[in-house]
Amino acid sequence: MGRPIKSITNPKLSLNILTPEEVQRIHTATLDVIENVGVRFPSQKVLDIWEAHGAKVDRETFIVKAPGALIEKALKSAPPADALAARDPAQDLMMDGNHVFLGTDGCGVEVIDIYSGARRRSRLQDVGEIARVADYLEEVAFHWVAVSAQDRPPQTRGLHEVKAIWDNSTKHVQTESIYSEKEARAAVEMAAIIVGGREALRKRPVLSMMQCTAPPLGHDGGSLEAALVGAEAGIPVGFMTMASCLTTGPATMAGTLVVGNAEVIAGTALIQLAYPGAPVFYAAAQTASDLRTGSYTGGGPEDYLFGAATNVLSDFYDIPLSMGSFATGAKEPNWQAGVDNSLSTFMSCIVMSDMLLGVGFLHGSRIWSYAQMLMDCEIYNIVNKTLQGIPIDDETLALDVIRAVGPGGNFLKQKHTIRHMRDVFLPQFMDRRPYNEWQEKGDGPSDWALAKARQILETHQPEVLGSGLSAELQHIIETAEKEPVD
């Protein structure tokens, strides 16, 4: 049996970030952009699909201009929310709008080594080890490919990565690092083997696929073709925009929402035109670029607001959302990381983003830190507790016990207190010790978080794939490796 999963559900707090009229204006502006400016789809195969459905297609520039009515009609065939399946069915994730599930972040290139503390390039072994720790953590409900297996060949790297996760965890895998049709076909084949065939995979998609758009207003050809393979197989497919204020989007947040939305819904419409009824999701990790360098910030008020606004958009289209929060730009687990990751996660959670990405990174999703991973889980727990709000009823108003204690007493000896003390949040990685103890020991939250990660890695025994299945997956990868590179 896999470990239980802690989702956020039935929140008492809520937030109104955009009015229905404002959402409608964003949608109308988005359709205007898709119809009159167009979105770039650099794949002849994809252009064929658009053309067959009456969109205006430019074969030289790859720009597609699709009428609003076509987009709206296509989006209507997106199915109502379903579940993301896990190898262990008890770990399936309901995409019903009343759950937030946390994942790891992905595509990192370096790792702070769990033992030496040295920063080094990421490799396949890291993918498996991170997955094993994530498999243990109740806060982490699903996996992204946390870091890139840079010691494996580029054309099959994404396959090694998903296999390493399946070898170490029973939880759902959402890959964000498969960029070609060929690799996607092999990944689908691997997923089908795990659940017992292609039809079983449709019912139990243990793999979902996220593809990044190429903002502003573009897609990557290989990513599009990979997404079509996923959609054909019936696994959930999503497009993620990272359009950012100032650089890949207008300076204004509303304008950047329109640019990102145009990319995502045009891509989603394409999937529906090709495979009506294929499961899809919306994905975004928008932010503002830094005013001085133009680089990705992974934090700041714009980031937090995008985190909340995007779920309103995905709700409008009635598809689940995979939302980027966390991803601080901080270089080490510190003040900046705490502020960035807390606020972005609070804002994404209070609107009930279905999937949340993700724990574990520093320096704008580039450097994996086990300490940050564990502390991010704590942030998630704090947000979860906060969103439960303050329940008001006779029991919680506690009049009997207030009467019993009266003025000047204390509540420690009361049965009511014993009954409810575990409602009070107890942090794992906050320093609440007396000052002198801190002074003597000289350690702190990130030391404790790291120690816990080490302990998990050394002791947690995940339910492994089994040598037969694992060998079958390996065989698919090896076959793919023998094929000539495009």
Binding site: V109, G222, S289, R292, G294
Partner: protein
Amino acid sequence: MTEEMFKAMAQSIIDGDAEVAEKLARQAVEKGIDPLDAINQGFVVGVNQVGSEFSCGNAFLPELVMAGEAMKVAVSTLEPEMNRRGTSRSVLGKVVLATIQGDIHDIGKTLVGTMLSAAGFQVYDLGVDVPVMKLVEKARAVDANIIGVSALLTTTMVRQRDVVEALEDMGLRSKIKVMVGGAPVTSEWVKEIGADGYSEDAIGAVAVAKKLVGK
């Protein structure tokens, strides 16, 4: 009169107004002002001004880019006249830029191009999805000092190594420096593939390029 015109040229760059910069460049040619004077006493003064405002935190990246674009327009307007006179603007060096084959990510590389050309480099931007050999051949053809090669994906980043190796195979490695860029690039990667420099942002790239050409 000419002094006033130089001032207006500088101001057009500070304002990032390419239209005005182009108009002033054309007027300079009509009035018989030496294009090199127009550049060095007029437009460049504006570039330097924006640069120093940026350094002390009063100006931001979009202003730098606008100034760079205006500068580019001004110089290209003056170019025919420079050719006619048989003069040319002294450049810090020649840089051939591209995003590597298999990768279509454009913005960082383009930003680096704008910053380099504003700083006084001659920039040849080959665009995105550029094969290694095309990049290296172009660098040889224009006698480039630097190749700048960008990649956003870890799967395409590996081809940055191919650029270094191709230069070695062609016997050009000692003449052409290699700068690499893109989100997954780290200083360790630069060392591993034997490239000469990298920067995480466009401003830093200018400093690296200047260092590589010994300026």
